[in-house]
C-alpha cells in the first residue's frame, strides 16, 4: 500500500484509474469549467451556460455511476483506486448515485427564477445580486439595478458535490480531510448568498464557517493521532494495526506504533468531526441556525446531500477502520444516537419557523440513521443507504415547498403564516403533508420503509434498546409534524397570509420527482432495497 516508503528514491508514475473515478472527475471538471465561464463568458450568457453545464455534467456523472455499477464495481469488481485513496465499491457508488441525483434536482431549485418578483424587468433567483455588497447599501442597489445575479452558485455547488462524492469513497484519512474541506468551503459561501434577509444569511455563513472549521480542526487532530497510532493514513492499514497485525504493514514500524491512547482519542476526534457534519447531538447546534439563515435551495441541498455524504464517510470509517474497536465506541455512539433522537424530536415541538423545525427534525433523523449505523452488520449498511436515499428526497422536497410559500418579504417561514394553506392551495399543502408524513414514518411513504429497515437492522443486531427509544422519539416527533398539518388544513387562513407562487416547470418537476420518490420508495421499495442490499459491502 505504502508505495512511497517501499520504493524510496524511485518515483513511480502513479497508476490512475480514470474510469473508476470518472463520476467525481466529471463533476469537479464541470465545476472548473463553470469557474472559467464566470471568468470569460459575458454576464447575460452565464446563467444559461452554467445551468446547461451543471445539468449535463450531473447527467453524465450519473451515467458513469450507473455504468460502473453495471460493470460490477458495486459488487464483484469493487476496487480501491487512486493509489489506495479511493474506494469504488457498493456503498460508494450507491451514495454517489444518490448524491448526483440530489445535486441534479437541486440544480433545478438553484436555477428557479420565477419565485422572486422580477427586479427591473429581469427575472432573478433566490441568491444575492452581489454577495460582496453591503446589505441595503448603494452597491447592492446598483447591482440589483444592473440585473446582476450570482451565477457562481453553480460551480460552487458542483465543487461541493465533488467533495461529497469523494467523502463516502475516501479510503484514507488524507482524502477524508480533503473531501471534507472541498465539500464544506463552497457550502459556507453558498450559505451567505441569500437575496432576502441577508443579515441572517451572513450570520448563518459565519456560524457555519467558524464551527465547521473548528470541527475540522478536531478531525484533523484526530487524523494526526490515528496516524501516530498506526503509522499510516490508509484505512486498511489502520484496520490491520488495530486487528493486531502490524508487521504485515511494515515491520519497521512495529516499535513506534500501537499506542492505544492515540487510537482511542484520535478515533473519537475523527468520529466527532463526522458527527458534526451529520448534525448529531451534541454537535448539532449549527444546524438550526444555518438551515434557517441559508437560502432555502441551499438548505435543501445541504440538508439532503451533506447528510448522505457524511453518513457515508462515517459508515466507511466505522465499518472499515474501527470495527476492531467497536466495544470502545459503541456505547458512546449509542448515547449520541439516543440524545439525537430525543433532543431533536423534543426541541422541534416548540419551533415556530418551518426551516428550524425541519432542522431539528433532521437532527432526530440523524439519530435514527445512527441506530442503523450501530447495527454493524451488512443489513445495517444497506438499511442506512436506503434510509439516506429516501430521506434526501423527502428533505429536498420539503425545502422546495418552503421556497414556494411567500409573502411580501420573501419566503414566509413563520409557521403562523402557514395557517390555512391547505385551503388556498390544497395540492401543495397535500404534497408538503406527504413529506411530513414521510418524515414521521407513516406507512406507505418512503420514511416508513426507511425507518423499518434501519430499526429492524438495529434490532437484528441486538440493539432493541435503540429501537425502543427510536419508537418513542418517533411518537414525539409525530406531534410536531402533525401540528404543521393541523395548521395547514384545519386553521382558518389569515387575511394577510402568504400566497403560493406558481413556479417554473423546474421546481414543479423537482417536487414531482420528490413526491414520486416518497411514494414509490414507500409502496414498492423492493428494487431500491435490493440495490442497497447489494451495495452493503465495503471494499478494503
Amino acid at each position: 500500500m505504502n508505495s512511497w516508503t517501499h520504493a524510496q528514491g524511485v518515483l513511480e508514475t502513479p497508476q490512475f484509474e480514470w474510469v473508476a473515478l470518472s463520476p467525481t472527475l466529471i463533476v469537479v471538471g464541470a465545476a472548473v469549467v463553470g469557474v472559467l465561464v464566470e471568468a470569460f463568458a459575458p454576464r447575460r450568457y452565464r446563467y444559461g451556460t452554467q445551468v446547461v453545464i451543471a445539468v449535463l455534467a450531473l447527467a453524465t456523472a450519473f451515467a458513469a455511476v450507473v455504468g460502473l455499477a453495471a460493470d460490477g464495481h458495486a459488487s464483484t469488481q469493487a476496487q480501491v483506486a487512486g493509489m489506495g485513496a479511493l474506494a469504488v465499491d457498493g456503498p460508494a457508488l450507491f451514495l454517489q448515485g444518490v448524491l448526483i441525483l440530489v445535486g441534479f434536482v437541486s440544480v433545478f431549485l438553484f436555477a428557479e427564477r420565477r419565485l422572486e418578483p422580477a427586479e427591473h424587468g429581469r427575472a432573478v433567483d433566490s441568491f444575492a445580486a452581489q454577495a460582496a455588497a453591503v446589505p441595503g447599501g448603494t452597491a447592492e442597489k446598483l447591482a440589483v439595478k444592473s440585473g446582476y445575479t450570482t451565477t457562481e452558485i453553480f460551480p460552487l455547488m458542483l465543487f461541493a458535490l465533488g467533495g461529497m462524492l469523494l467523502f463516502p469513497a475516501a479510503n484514507d484519512l488524507l482524502l477524508l480531510f480533503i473531501a471534507l474541506e472541498v465539500l464544506s468551503l463552497p457550502l459556507y459561501l453558498l450559505c451567505a448568498l441569500s437575496r432576502r434577509r441577508r443579515l441572517l444569511s451572513q450570520e448563518a455563513a459565519v456560524k457555519y464557517f467558524l464551527l465547521g472549521a473548528f470541527a475540522s480542526a478536531f478531525l484533523l487532530f484526530g487524523i494526526a493521532l490515528l496516524y501516530g497510532y498506526a503509522g499510516t493514513l490508509s484505512y486498511a492499514g489502520i484496520a490491520d494495526v488495530i486487528s493486531g497485525a502490524p508487521p504485515a504493514v511494515d515491520p519497521g514500524l512495529a516499535a513506534t506504533m500501537g499506542n492505544d491512547a492515540y487510537l482511542l482519542i484520535g478515533g473519537a476526534l475523527v468520529v466527532m468531526g463526522l458527527l458534526f457534519k451529520v448534525g448529531a447531538v451534541p454537535f448539532h447546534m449549527w444546524t438550526p441556525d444555518v438551515y434557517q439563515g441559508a437560502p432555502t435551495p441551499v438548505t435543501g441541498f445541504m440538508a439532503a446531500a451533506t447528510k448522505v455524504a457524511a453518513f457515508g464517510a462515517l459508515l466507511r470509517l466505522l465499518y472499515v477502520v474501527l470495527p476492531g474497536m467497536r466495544w470502545d465506541w459503541e456505547p458512546v455512539l449509542w448515547g449520541v444516537a439516543i440524545a439525537s433522537m430525543l433532543a431533536g424530536a423534543v426541541i422541534a415541538i416548540t419551533q415556530t419557523d418551518v426551516k428550524r423545525l425541519l432542522a431539528y427534525s433532521s437532527i432526530a433523523h440523524a439519530g435514527f440513521i445512527l441506530a442503523g449505523v450501530l447495527a454493524l452488520s451488512e443489513d445495517g449498511v444497506s438499511s442506512v443507504l436506503f434510509y439516506l436515499a429516501a430521506y434526501s428526497f423527502v428533505t429536498l422536497g420539503a425545502f422546495a415547498v418552503v421556497t414556494l410559500v411567500r409573502d411580501g418579504d420573501g419566503e414566509a417561514t413563520h409557521l403562523s403564516k402557514w395557517a390555512g394553506l391547505g385551503r388556498r392551495s390544497p395540492l401543495l399543502a397535500g404534497v408538503f403533508a406527504l413529506f411530513l408524513l414521510a418524515f414521521a414514518g407513516i406507512p406507505l411513504t418512503s420514511g416508513f420503509a426507511g425507518k423499518f429497515a434501519v430499526f429492524s437492522a438495529a434490532a437484528d443486531a441486538g440493539a432493541m434498546g435503540l429501537v425502543i427509544v427510536g419508537v418513542i422519539a418517533s411518537a414525539i416527533a409525530a406531534f410536531f409534524y402533525v401540528r404543521v398539518i393541523v395548521l395547514m388544513f384545519f386553521s382558518e387562513p389569515q387575511e394577510d397570509g402568504p400566497s403560493v407562487v406558481v413556479p417554473s416547470p423546474m421546481t414543479t418537476s423537482m417536487l414531482g420527482v420528490a413526491a414520486a420518490a416518497t411514494i414509490v420508495l414507500g409502496v414498492a421499495p423492493q428494487y431500491f432495497l435490493d440495490l442497497a442490499g447489494q451495495a452493503g459491502v465495503f471494499v478494503r
Binding site: K207, L264, V336, Q351
Partner: protein
C-alpha cells in the same frame, strides 16, 4: 296441530309490525285489525285447548321447533315452542283478557291521535307475552321476558309528553332490567352446569345438581321474578307504571305481565324443589310483598295506585304459594288466573270511571258515582266481591287454597305464613271496601278539571262495557269452575308437581277464618269511610299512613341507596376521566412541550456557546471511549 302454536304468536306480531310500519294510512282501521288479530290468537288458543282436552293428561304437551337460532359450538339456542297445560292456561288467560282489553281500548283511546301506535304496542305485548309462556327454553323465555318489558315501557310511557309518564316508563324498564340480569345469570348457571338451558333437560336433570348450584339458580330466578312481578325489593316501579293508559294497567300491570314471575317460579319448580333455601326466600319475598302492597293500597287516594298496591299484594300471595313448593304451585296459578279476571275487571272499571270524570284519578274527588255509571258499578262491584274473597266467588276459592297451603307448610313457619295470609285477607277487604266507598258511594266531591270543565260522569260506550261485563262473569264464576271436582288441580297436575300439605287447621276452618277477617276488614273500612263524609284533602294521618302514601319510602330508599350515590359516582368519574385519565395524556403532551421550551433555550444563538457544546461533546466522547477501555 303443532304448527298452530307459531301462528298463535305470529298473529299479534304481524299486527304490531303492520301497524308500526304501515303508517298513517292504517289510522282508520288499524285498531280493528289489531283487535281482530288478538281475537284470532284467542281463537287459535281455543282450538288448541279443545284439541288438548281431547288427549290424555300425560301426552297433552305439544312442541314446535321452528329453527335453530344461535348455533355455536357447545351452545344451542332454538326458536322452539312448547305448549303444555301450564302454558295453555296462560295462553288462554292472555289471549282472552288481551282480546277483551283490545276491544275496550277501541273505545277508551278513541280520541287519541296516536291510537294506531297504541294498538301496535298492545299487539306487540301480546306476542311477547305469548313467547314468554310458550318458549321451550330459558333463552327464548328471556326474549319474551324482555319483550314484555319493552311493551310495558312503551305503553307506560305512551303519553310521552307527560314527563311523569316518561319517567315512570324508564323506571319500569330499568328496574326490570335488574331483574333480567337475574334471569340472565340463572341461564349462565344452567349452561355451565347442564350445558343447556332448554326446559326439559334442565328440569329433568336438576335433581342431580348440587344444592348450592340449584340455590344459586333459584335465587337468580327469584330476582328475575321480583323485577317482573313487582315483588320486594324490586317493587317500586309498579305504582309509577299507573301513568300508562288504564287498559294497559289492566292487561299488563294486573292480569298478565306482572304474573310472569309466578310463572317462572312455577315453571322452574324442579329447581326450587332441590333448593329449600331458595324456596324460603321466595316465601319470605311473597309474604313481605303481600303485606307491603296491602298497606300501600290502604293509603293511596289515586284509584289506580290503590289498585296497583292491591296487585302487588295479590301477586305476593301467588309468590308465597309458589314458594311453598308442590303444595302451593297449582294454587299460585289458580289465584293468578282468577286474579287476572277480577283485577282486569277492576282496572277497566277504574278506567271507565276516569273516562267519565275527565281523567281524574283522585278518589277524594269522586263519590256517589253508582247512579251515573250503573254498569261500571255493578261490574266493579262483582270484581270487588271476588277479590275480597266473598264466599263462592273466584277469589274465595283461590285465596283460601293459598291460605290453607300456607298453614300446610307446617310448624312455626306454617303458623306465621298462615297468619300473614289471613292478615292480608283482612287488609284486602279493607282497602277494596275503601275504594268502593270512596268511588261509588257517599257525597259528590267532584271538581273542575284543568280546563275548567265540570265533570259529566256518564256510562262508557258499549265497546268498553262489554269487556267489563265479560270479565265480571269470569270473576264470579272462574273460581267455582276451577274448584269443581278439583278440575284445575287435575288439569295442571301432569306438568306441575302437586302435594298435600299437613295443615294444622282444617280447610273449612280456614274458610271461616278468612271470611270473618274479610268481614272485619269491610267493617273497619265502612267505619272509617262509609259512616261520615270523606274530607277532600287527605288528613295527615299516622306515621304508617304517611309512609304508605309514599309507598313505604321505597323511592326514598332507592334514592338514598342507589340514585344519589350513583349520580355522585358518575359525576366523580366524569371528573376523574377528564382530570386524571385524560390529564395524564394531556399532561404528558404538556410535559414534552415544557421540556422542549426549556431545551430550546440552550440554542442561544451564540456561536461560541455552540463551540463550547462541541468541545464538551468531544471531551465526553474521548472520556467515555477511554473509560470503556479502562473498564
Amino acid at each position: 296441530m303443532e304448527s298452530l302454536i307459531g301462528l298463535l304468536v305470529a298473529a299479534p306480531l304481524l299486527g304490531a309490525a303492520l301497524l308500526l310500519v304501515g303508517g298513517r294510512r292504517l289510522d282508520r282501521f288499524g285498531h280493528w285489525l289489531a283487535t281482530g288479530l288478538a281475537a284470532l290468537s284467542f281463537a287459535l288458543a281455543v282450538v288448541l285447548f279443545v284439541d288438548m282436552l281431547g288427549r290424555d293428561g300425560g301426552d297433552r304437551a305439544l312442541s314446535q321447533h321452528l329453527y335453530s337460532w344461535v348455533p355455536v359450538s357447545g351452545f344451542q339456542a332454538d326458536i322452539a315452542f312448547q305448549l303444555d297445560q301450564l302454558s295453555m292456561t296462560f295462553v288462554l288467560l292472555i289471549t282472552s283478557v288481551g282480546t277483551l282489553i283490545h276491544l275496550y281500548s277501541v273505545g277508551y283511546m278513541e280520541h287519541d291521535v296516536r291510537r294506531r301506535r297504541f294498538f301496535a304496542y298492545l299487539n306487540l305485548f301480546l306476542a311477547a307475552m305469548l313467547i314468554l309462556v310458550l318458549a321451550d327454553n330459558y333463552l327464548l323465555l328471556y326474549v319474551g321476558w324482555e319483550g314484555v318489558g319493552l311493551a310495558s315501557f312503551l305503553l307506560i310511557g305512551f303519553w310521552q309528553h307527560k314527563p311523569s309518564a316518561a319517567t315512570a316508563a324508564k323506571k319500569a324498564f330499568v328496574v326490570n332490567r335488574v331483574g333480567d340480569v337475574g334471569l340472565a345469570i340463572a341461564i349462565f348457571l344452567m349452561f355451565s352446569t347442564f350445558g343447556t338451558f332448554a326446559f326439559s333437560p334442565v328440569l329433568s336433570t336438576a335433581e342431580q345438581a348440587s344444592e348450592g348450584t340449584l340455590t344459586a339458580i333459584g335465587l337468580m330466578l327469584l330476582l328475575a321474578a321480583c323485577g317482573k312481578s313487582a315483588q320486594v325489593p324490586l317493587q317500586s316501579w309498579l305504582g309509577d307504571a299507573m301513568e300508562g293508559p288504564t287498559p294497559v294497567s289492566a292487561l299488563i300491570h294486573a292480569a298478565t305481565m306482572v304474573t310472569a314471575g309466578v310463572y317462572l317460579v312455577v315453571r322452574s319448580g324442579a329447581v326450587f324443589d332441590g333448593a329449600p333455601a331458595a324456596q324460603t326466600v321466595v316465601v319470605v319475598v311473597g309474604a313481605v310483598t303481600l303485606l307491603f302492597g296491602a298497606i300501600v293500597g290502604c293509603a293511596k287516594d289515586d284509584i289506580k295506585k290503590a289498585l296497583a298496591g292491591s296487585t302487588m299484594s295479590q301477586i305476593g300471595y301467588m309468590m308465597l304459594a309458589a314458594g311453598l313448593g308442590p303444595i302451593g304451585y297449582v294454587f299460585a296459578i289458580m289465584h293468578l288466573v282468577t286474579h287476572g279476571f277480577f283485577k282486569a275487571g277492576l282496572f277497566l272499571g277504574a278506567g271507565s270511571v276516569m273516562h267519565g270524570m275527565n281523567d281524574e284519578v283522585d278518589m277524594r274527588r269522586y263519590g256517589g258515582l253508582r247512579k251515573y255509571m250503573p254498569v261500571t258499578f255493578v261490574t266493579f262491584g262483582l270484581g270487588y266481591l271476588a277479590i275480597i274473597g266473598f264466599p263462592y266467588l273466584s277469589g274465595f276459592f283461590s285465596k283460601d287454597e293459598i291460605i290453607y297451603a300456607a298453614f300446610g307448610k307446617g310448624g312455626a313457619e306454617g303458623w306465621i305464613l298462615g297468619g300473614v295470609t289471613l292478615l292480608g285477607a283482612a287488609l284486602t277487604a279493607y282497602y277494596m271496601t275503601r275504594i268502593m266507598l270512596m268511588t261509588f258511594f257517599g257525597e259528590k266531591r267532584w271538581v273542575k278539571d284543568a280546563e275548567g270543565n265540570d265533570p259529566h260522569p256518564h256510562e262508557s260506550p258499549l265497546s268498553m262495557t262489554v269487556p267489563m261485563i265479560v270479565l265480571a262473569v269470569g270473576s264470579v264464576g272462574a273460581g267455582f269452575v276451577f274448584n269443581l271436582n278439583h278440575s284445575f288441580v287435575d288439569w295442571l297436575s301432569p306438568v306441575v308437581a302437586t302435594a298435600d300439605g299437613n295443615s294444622p287447621v282444617s280447610h273449612g276452618m280456614v274458610s271461616v277464618l278468612a271470611t270473618v277477617l274479610m268481614l272485619v276488614g269491610v267493617g273497619a273500612a265502612w267505619f272509617q269511610y262509609g259512616r261520615r263524609p270523606i274530607p277532600e284533602v287527605a288528613p295527615t294521618g299516622v306515621w304508617i299512613t304517611r309512609a304508605a302514601r309514599r309507598d313505604l319510602l321505597q323511592d326514598d330508599f332507592n334514592h338514598a341507596a342507589f340514585v344519589t350515590p350513583g349520580s355522585y359516582l358518575t359525576r366523580g368519574l366524569v371528573y376523574v376521566d377528564h382530570k386524571l385519565v385524560d390529564g395524564v395524556v394531556n399532561g404528558t403532551a404538556a410535559g414534552f412541550g415544557g421540556l422542549s421550551g426549556r431545551l430550546r433555550k440552550v440554542q442561544n444563538g451564540f456561536a461560541r456557546s455552540y463551540a463550547a457544546s462541541m468541545f464538551g461533546g468531544a471531551a465526553i466522547l474521548i472520556a467515555v471511549t477511554l473509560l470503556m477501555r479502562a473498564v
